[in-house]
Symmetry: D2
Subunit: 134 residues, 4 copies
């Protein structure tokens, strides 16, 4: 699929729609995703639940891998390690992802998420396996 089709496919899936998460770029330079943290994303302390942040970073890493991959190739997250650097309050978050090391089977990626003031609220590394297209 073309870049536009890739973005449409992911922006249309259940998880992205439930959470209001969108990928706006996925190419050879990396990926950009956006989400606006609202009351639906909060845990009992009033800040974004770790699952929202982890999901955003997982997606940013995965799309950074899929952006430049051949049509039809997929990838599966084997493992991810997330550092939560600051509480994320209600408001927009922007995540960027990039490939750190891309092999033929295993790819390592990095992502970080920043709030509207530019403060990095979380970062992650992930290990992914390429899944050949049918």
């Amino acid at each position: 699929v073309s870049g536009t089709q890739l973005l449409e496919r992911w922006n249309g899936c259940g998880y992205y729609r439930l959470n209001g998460m969108r990928v706006t770029r996925a190419d050879a330079d990396g990926s950009t995703l956006r989400i606006t943290i609202g009351s639906d994303h909060l845990q009992a302390y009033g800040t974004a639940h770790g699952g929202v942040i982890a999901g955003l970073l997982d997606a940013a890493m995965g799309l950074a891998i899929l952006g430049p991959a051949p049509d039809g190739e997929g990838c599966a997250t084997i493992q991810m390690a997330v550092n939560f650097l600051a509480p994320a309050r209600a408001g927009p978050l922007t995540a960027t992802g990039r490939v750190v090391s891309g092999g033929s089977r295993i790819v390592v990626a990095w992502a970080e998420a920043a709030d509207a003031t530019g403060r990095t609220v979380a970062c992650a590394t992930g290990t992914f396996m390429r899944v050949p297209g049918e």
Copy 2:
């Protein structure tokens, strides 16, 4: 708060309600949480998005820490490392969490999630900081 109040507080927060996630136990032996994966939780490949799984495991670890903690004490996830062991398809998932090592400030916890057949689909370790109550 008592154990019941702890569960009610978390089950009432935005993230748990949006995702249909529930904590059913949080005590000195650990925690149990449940979620039923449905179309809202899926990524473009038709299996649960990593964010749902990561959120479930983060919550299971956090509640295992909060269950036996003094009233009013909180905890913040500093870091978590998640291993995705098998795709999680639509259907129920049960996560259990437990404390691995609990210090006065830093606590390390473990959680795993299994599907209805008992297969472990993911596991995680996390590092948490205790936050004293006001």
Copy 3:
């Protein structure tokens, strides 16, 4: 190779000899390794350097995978996440490893290290790739 040959092979390699690390068991139930922390393993604060601990846990996980594997099969660490729970002072450490989830290609393992008093000083999860024998 048989279990004894596996142990001899690893106990004879440069890293094990330099550090005085030994594997004493590697079978279907997991692995056991021992090291005695001495002045050669210390960092500037007088406790064991993280590299010694990480190496011990990496080895415990790898041997837990190799113990029950077919003759000639190897494994490579793709990723490991280590939690340092307490300072490790001079004296013996025992590490035990076990397989958490073993697929045909990717295996996830767990290891922990305890001092002579039984206190767990560190734990780790790792992701490994099986390497077929020639």
Copy 4:
């Protein structure tokens, strides 16, 4: 201590001497460490043991934190996640570390190690706790 004293202190500790590891820079821009992989660092497959690589990256992150820290302040590794990207064979490795996010108590750092051809063989993120000087 001054920067030179910091380097001398670490280069003189047991672990650095046993492994032939040296820190050559630790300042506000990060750290640089060097090691030459030889037969003493190898595992049974003939490449550097994960413990050597993990120790090098742990040290690179820690020194990146200590370099610009006030005299006497220390730091302890709480957790580290290492990705092994390529086998490291006999020969020189250079690691560089930098602070990703520095709070008053918790600091997150990043390090990577490259061989003589410039190929990155491993990277890591770590979570550290500042330890006030006496």
